[in-house]
C-alpha cells in the first residue's frame, strides 16, 4: 500500500517541524511586543497561560477520561515554587536592579522547570493513591487535594501565608508564554498520536478491555496525571511572574472549575477545540468588560446556553452526541 497519505516518514518528523515553527512564531511575537498595545499583550498572555492549563488538563480529563477537579492546586505548586526560586535567587545573583536578559532568562527557565517538576511530583503523590477511584469519586478527591494544597499554602508562613507572595520579578513575556503553550500542545499531541498514546484513549473508552490487551491502566492514568500536573505547574510559574503577586485563594476550586469548563466546552479530547475554548473563555470577560455589572450574569447565561445548544462541545464537529 502506498503511504502517500501519511506524513513523511524520513528526516525530521512532522510534529517537530510544527513545534519549531510555533516556537519561531512565539519568538517573533515576543520581539514585536514593543509595538503591541500593552492591554492586548496582557490578554494574549492570559490566553497563552489558559491554553497551557486547558491543554494539559485535557490530557487527563479528555484523552484519559479521568475527571480531575484539582488542576488549580498543581498550578499553585508551580506558581509558588517558581516564585520562591526567583524571589530568593534573583536579588542574590543580580543585585537589586535586575540582571541582563540572558542570565535572567536562564534563571526564569530554571525556576519554571523547578515549579513544573514540583507540580509533577505533587501529581504523582496525589495520583498514585487516588487514581483507582472512578468518576465522581475521583473528581471529589482531586478537588479535596486541591483545597488541601491551598490551605497548606495559607498556613505556610515562609511562603507568605494567607497574604501570599509579592514583588515577584516580571519575567513572563508573551514570547515565553506562547513558547510554552506550543510545547504543551506538542507534548500532548505527540503523546496521544502514537501507538503508545492510543492507549490513553483505550483506557478511557474501556479500562477492562484495555487491561485485557496488556495495557496497564494505572500507569497510563499516572502518566497523564503527572504530565498534566507538570504543565499546570509551568502555567503557574508563568502566571506568578506575570501577575507579580500570588495568594493561595487565587488557586481555589473556582479556578479549577474554570479550566474544566474550557476542556468540556472545547470537546473532551479534542485539542484544537480546547485551545479555541481557552481563547474564547479568556476573551469573553474582556468583551463583557463594558457591562461590568452584568458581566458574570452574562457569562453564566452563556455557559448554560452553550451547554444546552451544543452539548458535544463547541468545537466538536465530527462526533454526534455520546451516551
Amino acid at each position: 500500500m502506498e503511504s502517500k497519505v501519511q506524513s513523511p516518514k524520513s528526516g525530521i518528523p512532522g510534529p517537530h517541524l510544527a513545534l519549531v515553527g510555533a516556537l519561531l512564531v512565539a519568538g517573533g511575537v515576543g520581539l514585536c511586543s514593543d509595538w503591541i498595545d500593552p492591554y492586548h499583550l496582557d490578554v494574549l498572555t492570559n490566553i497563552g497561560i489558559n491554553v497551557i492549563l486547558a491543554v494539559s488538563l485535557n490530557l487527563v480529563n479528555g484523552h484519559t477520561g479521568q475527571f480531575s477537579l484539582g488542576h488549580a492546586g498543581f498550578m499553585s505548586v508551580g506558581a509558588y515554587l517558581a516564585a520562591a526560586v526567583t524571589l530568593n535567587l534573583a536579588p542574590r545573583l543580580f543585585g537589586p536592579d535586575g540582571g541582563a536578559a540572558g542570565p535572567t532568562a536562564l534563571l526564569f527557565l530554571g525556576a519554571l522547570l523547578a515549579g513544573g517538576l514540583a507540580a509533577a511530583l505533587a501529581g504523582l503523590l496525589v495520583g498514585v493513591p487516588s487514581l483507582r477511584l472512578k468518576g465522581d469519586y475521583l473528581a471529589i478527591v482531586t478537588l479535596g487535594f486541591g483545597q488541601i494544597i491551598v490551605v497548606l499554602f495559607q498556613n505556610f508562613e515562609p511562603l507568605g501565608g494567607a497574604l501570599g507572595l509579592n514583588g515577584i520579578p516580571p519575567y513572563t513575556t508573551v514570547g515565553w508564554v506562547l513558547a510554552w503553550a506550543a510545547v504543551a500542545v506538542f507534548t500532548v499531541g505527540c503523546l496521544v498520536r502514537s501507538t503508545y498514546g492510543r492507549g490513553f484513549l483505550a483506557v478511557r473508552d474501556d479500562e477492562v478491555a484495555a487491561a485485557a490487551l496488556g495495557l496497564d491502566p494505572t500507569r497510563y492514568k499516572t502518566v497523564a496525571f503527572v504530565v498534566g500536573a507538570f504543565f499546570a505547574g509551568i502555567a503557574g510559574g508563568l502566571y506568578a511572574h506575570f501577575r507579580l503577586t500570588i495568594t493561595p485563594g487565587g488557586f481555589d476550586f473556582t479556578k479549577s472549575i474554570e479550566i474544566v469548563v474550557m476542556v468540556i466546552l472545547g470537546g473532551m479530547g479534542n485539542t484544537l477545540g480546547v485551545i479555541l475554548a481557552a481563547v474564547l473563555l479568556t476573551l469573553l470577560p474582556e468583551v463583557l468588560r463594558p457591562v461590568a455589572e452584568y458581566r458574570m450574569i452574562l457569562y453564566s447565561l452563556l455557559l448554560i446556553g452553550l451547554m444546552l445548544v451544543r452539548p458535544q462541545g463547541l468545537f466538536c464537529f465530527k462526533r454526534g452526541r455520546t451516551n
Partner: protein, 299 residues
C-alpha cells in the same frame, strides 16, 4: 469531659446542617446520577429568603421563626423545580459532564444575580434573630435555642424524608427511578414528575439548611453557599453518594470532626483542609463511601 460534650453539641448542630444540604445532593444523584453543583446556591437563596421575610416579622417568636423556615423551604422548592425544568431536563440523556458544567453555570448565575447591587449586593447583612433566644445549660454544657432549633428541625426533616422515601408511593417511585429509570417508566411512573418532586424535596431541605445556618452564623451574603455546599457535598460522598442515611451520617461526622479540629489550638487553621483529608482517607479505604453500595463491576 465538659469541653468534649460542648464541642460535641456544637459539632452536631453544624453537622445537622451539612446533613440537610447533603440530602439534596444525594437525592438528586440517586435519581439522575449527577452532582447538582447549583445546590449550594439553593441553600444561599434559602438563607436570603429567610433574611428577607424575617426582617418583616416581629423577632424572637416561635411562629415567626417557623414562618421564615416555611417560606425559605417553599421558595427553594420552587427554585429547585424551576432549575430542573428549564435547565436540567433538556439536558437529560447527555453526558453527565455537560450537566455538571451547566450546574456550575446555574451556580454562577445565582451568585452573580445576588451580587448585583439592585438585588442584594456583595456586603454581608445581619440575619434577624427570628426565633426566641434563650440559653440552656445542661450539666455545664451550653445550648442556645438556635442550636436546639437546628438539631430538632433537622432531625424532624430527616425522619420525615425517610418516611416519604420508604412509606409512600412517591418514595417507591423515587427508588424505582433511581434503580432503573427506564423500567420505572415501563411500570407507569411519570419520571418527569418524580424528578421534579425530588428536586423540590431536596431543595426545600437545603432552604431549611440555609435558614438554620444563617441563624447560627448570623450573616447572609451571595457567596455564603460555596463552602457549606462544598462540605455538604463532601459529606454526601463520605456517606456514599446516593444513600440517604449515608448523607445524614456523613454530615454529622464532618460537622463533628470539623468542630473538634476548629477547637484545637494547633489545628484550627487547617479546619477546611481536615474535612477533605477525612474524606480522602475514607474513600481510599472504602472507595464508595461509608454506606455506599459496593457493586463488583460487570465484565
Amino acid at each position: 469531659m465538659q469541653e468534649f460534650l460542648q464541642q460535641l453539641v456544637n459539632g452536631l448542630s453544624l453537622g445537622a446542617i451539612y446533613a440537610l444540604i447533603a440530602l439534596g445532593y444525594t437525592m438528586v444523584y440517586g435519581v439522575l446520577r449527577f452532582i447538582n453543583f447549583a445546590h449550594s446556591e439553593v441553600f444561599m437563596v434559602g438563607a436570603m429568603t429567610g433574611w428577607a421575610v424575617g426582617r418583616q416579622l416581629p423577632q424572637g417568636t416561635w411562629w415567626g421563626g417557623l414562618v421564615v423556615l416555611g417560606a425559605a423551604m417553599l421558595v427553594c422548592a420552587l427554585l429547585g423545580m424551576t432549575i430542573e425544568r428549564l435547565v436540567y431536563r433538556p439536558l437529560r440523556g447527555t453526558a453527565t459532564l455537560n450537566v455538571l458544567i451547566t450546574a456550575i453555570g446555574v451556580s454562577l448565575l445565582l451568585q452573580s444575580v445576588f451580587q448585583h447591587p439592585r438585588v442584594f449586593g456583595a456586603t454581608p447583612q445581619l440575619f434577624p434573630p427570628v426565633f426566641p433566644e434563650r440559653n440552656f445549660a445542661l450539666g455545664g454544657v451550653a445550648l442556645s435555642s438556635n442550636q436546639l432549633v437546628v438539631i430538632v428541625v433537622a432531625a424532624l426533616l430527616m425522619v420525615g424524608l425517610e418516611l416519604v422515601v420508604h412509606r409512600t408511593r412517591l418514595g417507591m417511585a423515587m427508588r424505582a427511578v433511581a434503580l432503573n429509570p427506564q423500567a420505572a417508566q415501563l411500570v407507569g411512573v411519570n419520571i418527569n414528575a418524580v424528578i421534579a418532586l425530588t428536586f423540590a424535596l431536596g431543595s426545600a431541605l437545603a432552604g431549611a439548611g440555609g435558614v438554620l445556618y444563617a441563624l447560627n452564623y448570623p450573616t447572609v451574603e451571595p457567596l455564603m453557599g460555596v463552602m457549606p455546599g462544598l462540605k455538604a457535598f463532601v459529606a454526601a460522598v463520605l456517606g456514599g453518594i446516593g444513600s440517604i442515611p449515608g448523607a445524614a451520617l456523613g454530615g454529622l461526622i464532618l460537622g463533628t470532626v470539623e468542630t473538634f479540629v476548629g477547637g484545637s489550638a494547633w489545628l484550627s487553621t487547617y479546619k477546611d483542609a481536615i474535612a477533605f483529608a477525612v474524606l480522602i482517607l475514607i474513600l481510599l479505604c472504602r472507595p464508595t463511601g461509608l454506606l455506599g453500595r459496593v457493586a463488583p463491576e460487570k465484565v
